[in-house]
Structure formats: structure tokens, C-alpha cells
């Protein structure tokens, strides 16, 4: 599936919720279902700066696609990560770099993009794009 298709699906799913509580309950569920990174692998070099709760993110190149794994201390943050991973993991670096992220607004999570929230949704997105940029230049060299 393309990044755009996945984003469409997510927007459709979120449209089913009536209020913020259902949205957040869903994100909490997603957070709980996100595979954990084992504690030994949670090294400081994987930490994303700018998050109020600690977030570790790893990116591996499998064939020509990037596989993201991430974890956080906070469950809502994990829910947000789970959504981002669903969108961007198993995608080619150039697709990740050119993807637009307006779906975040459409599913009512735009408030988490505000730098004052310091929860790092913006930082996580940036980090994913940095990894994509790094792997893209690796692939093209």
C-alpha cells in the first residue's frame, strides 16, 4: 500500500469516532499493541530530542525499504508512534521524503504538532524523514 492509501484508511477509521475520548481510547489501544523495544536496545543514541516522554526510534533498511521500530514511556505517545509507523514503515526513502502529512490534521491530532506540546510528534516525523534522507543518499551512492 502507498503512504497515501494508508493515510486514507486511517482518516476513515478516525472519522468513525464521535468525540475526543474515543479517539484517545483508540490511540491508547494502539499504544499498548505497539511491539516493545527490548530494554537493552533502548540506548541513548536512539532517543529523539524534544519529547516530554522518552522516545526511542530505530530505522533499518530492509531491501530498499525502511523498517521503523520505536518505543516510548508514555502510552499516548506510543499510540502516535504506532500511527506513524503504520504510515511510514516498510516504505521507500523517497516516498517517505515526499509524503505530505496533512492526515495528522484530519484525524484531530494537529494539537500534538504544536512545538509547545513538546510531545515530539513533530520531532518523530522529522526523525523519520532524517532517516529516510540518510538511507536515500546511501542507496544512491
Amino acid at each position: 500500500m502507498t503512504i497515501q492509501d494508508i493515510q486514507h484508511d486511517i482518516v476513515d477509521e478516525f472519522a468513525l469516532f464521535d468525540d475526543w475520548m474515543q479517539r484517545y481510547e483508540y490511540m491508547i489501544e494502539l499504544g499498548k499493541s505497539l511491539p516493545l523495544i527490548d530494554p537493552a536496545s533502548k540506548t541513548d543514541d536512539l532517543l529523539i530530542k524534544g519529547c516530554q516522554s522518552k522516545v526511542w526510534m530505530k530505522a533499518d533498511l530492509v531491501d530498499d525499504k525502511i523498517v521503523f521500530t520505536a518505543d516510548s514511556e508514555a502510552i499516548i505517545t506510543k499510540g502516535i508512534i504506532a500511527i506513524l509507523i503504520r504510515v511510514f514503515s516498510n516504505q521507500r526513502p523517497d516516498s517517505i521524503l515526499s509524503a505530505n502529512t496533512s492526515f495528522i490534521d484530519q484525524i484531530g491530532l494537529k494539537e500534538h504538532l504544536s512545538p509547545t506540546r513538546a510531545n515530539g510528534l513533530a520531532s518523530m516525523l522529522n526523525q523519520m524523514k532524517y532517516y529516510a534522507l540518510a538511507y536515500q543518499s546511501k542507496l544512491s551512492s
Partner: protein
Amino acid sequence: MTTSSLFFDVEEIRKDFPILNRKVNGQPLVYFDNAATSQKPQQVIDAIVNYYQNYNANIHRGVHALSQEATESYENARKTLQKHFNAPKVEDIILTSGTTHAINLVASGYTKFLKTGDEIIVSALEHHSNIVPWQMLCERTGSTLKVIPMAQDGTLKFSAFTQLLNDNTKLVFVNHVSNTLGTINPIKKMIDATHRYGAKILIDGAQACSHVKVDVQALDVDYYVTSAHKMCGPTGVGLLYGKTKLLETLPPYQGGGEMISEVTFEKTTYADLPHKFEAGTPNICGGIAFGAAVDYLNHIGLDEIAAYENDLLIYATEQLIKIEGLRIYGPTQDKTAVISFNVENIHPYDLGVLLDKMGIAVRTGQHCTQPIMDFYSIPGTVRASFAFYNTKTEIDLFVTAVKKAVMMLA
């Protein structure tokens, strides 16, 4: 526990704060982040608007009417602050951009006085703004930083403090009230102990001044600093009180206009206090509004405020501790109306996000006090801090919201 509510009409007081009428995420705002900054009453907002609408001018130099009115109003605010803090002289009050600026002003000045082997003592309860400037001072001078340890209950170990004091101690820095835990430190005892070794002490009053009446002469404190914005005043203004003879010997912090007496390219002589430390055009409007804020607090009465807030603190504590797995950090007595807590297996950030969705503003995180978080081995806390315009009804809404959030996160 008090009869404060008989004299204290919170509904009347709330009418002074227009922001309390607004909604957040469709819910009436419950503002429990007062330790970060307080809300502003109409009287302070009016002082700001009145200044810009009617007599905005630069001060201390103009001969025209507006400049004189602005100068008079600014200097009257300084007198209000002098009186409020009971400083011996009006020039002992230096207006700064806030507590952090005031601390840095003193720390910078001591570069000249300290040498290798000298010791500086800070407490484990300090805000980063009262740790980092002293670390930088130690780096510049070769002095050593010592730390007063804290106990499990969030109080400082006073006996450990007296053991740290010695003839090499030159400076002690401690906050009056901990921003994270609300601990009221025994500053009078600490000031007296410090003076027995001939050292000087700076008290960071940022978290105290909206709850406690401070008398700098009764305390015999060397330096006292605070910010207006936690006292119903605007951001960007605060003060440094210093004993006259100490301020006279302390070198200027920044060079510029206002702070000079004579300038030639060979030598500049500095202005007298307080202008020596007030380089450049000050925050004129902020200073005037700071005065208005102190007048407002005194109109309500700090003793009444303290008693009422203590009622809120006790009420909220009683409700919160009924929640399973909830732990409050900090002392049970001698604290301001701050509750720093966590719920077992729940990250404070998650709780904060859900409370916000329910219209409740709290602070989550480390509160710029990483050493306290490390002490308790926690990533952060949820901090609810109350002010005299908060109500028990709001506490009920807050407690219900915490329960709901815990249910969602469990």
C-alpha cells in the same frame, strides 16, 4: 481548618480575572498551573493598557510631561515594591527581567570576588535557573559547588546543610519555596546559619511571593529575587533586592545607557543604585504593572490568600489520596498549594494530555528540576498548583477528571 472563607469571597475575586471565563476544549477552564505563571486580574491589565494608551514615554531622561508621568509611575512602583518587601531603601530594589536575570546578575558579579578553594552551596531542591548560573560561576572562578541533600519527604536536610558550611563558604543559594514540591524551606534558620560563617545568601522567592509575605529586613537576607508574573503581574519583569552595601560593591552586569554617570573613551563611571544595574530602557510598563499586581495582592491580603490556598490544598490532597496507586511527592506540612503526583504505571505526560482534553491545565514533566526527579527515580510528575481564585468545585472537577483519565489509561 481556618475561617478564611468567611472573609474571602472567591466568587467576587474570580470576577477580577477575565480569563477564568473562557473554555478549553469545550470545557470551562480549570487553571491549576499557577506555579508556572499566575493569571492576571483586570486591575493589572488596566495598568498595562492605561500606560500604553495614556502616558507611554521613555523614562528618566525626557523633560516632557509624558516622560515625567511615566518616570513617576515607574518609580512609584519601585516604592510599592520597597514597602511590600520592607527594604530599607528604595534603591535596594533593582528591577530585572525576572528571577533568572536577577540570579545571573548576582552570579556574574561574584566572578570578581571568588577564587579557587571557595565554596558555593545550593540545595537539591533548586530550579535549573538556580543551579546553572552557579555552576558557570564555579567554572569561571575555580570555586566548588556543594549541594544540600534532600530527604524522602521533599524537605532539605538542615543538619547536612550546617555540616557543609565552613570558612571557605562564600555563597549560599536556596529557594524559598520549591517549584516542584511546594516545600517551604526554613530560610530564616538558613540565613542565620550562613551568616555565622560570614557567607552571603541569596533566596529565590519566585514560588513564594504570591503566597507568603516577605520581610527582607526581618529575614536579614543578603539577596532576594522574584518574578512579577507568578504574583499576578506581567511576564518579563522581576526584582533583585540586595543589601545596599553589597549592591554597591557588586560590579555592574550589563553596560549601556541608564547605568552610567560619566562616559569618556578613557573611563566610564557608573550610576548610583539602582540604575547601575538597570542598563538600557527598562520594561517600563512591566514595572508599573508589577506595582499594580502587588497592590492587588495586598488588597486581598497575603495572609488571607495563604489561609484560603491552604484550605484548597488540604481539600485536594484528601480527595486525591483516595485514588488507588496515586502518590504525592513532597512534604505533608509547611508547603504551598502545590501537589506533585504520579499514578502507578501511568506516565505523567499521558495524564496531562487527557486532563487538558477535559479543560484542566496542569504541568507535567520535570519542572526544570531534574535532580529532584533523579532523586525519586521518576521521569516526571503531574503538578497541580492552586491560586486564591481557584475553588473547591474546580478541585472536584479535577479529581473526577484524574479518575476518568486513570480509567482510560489503565
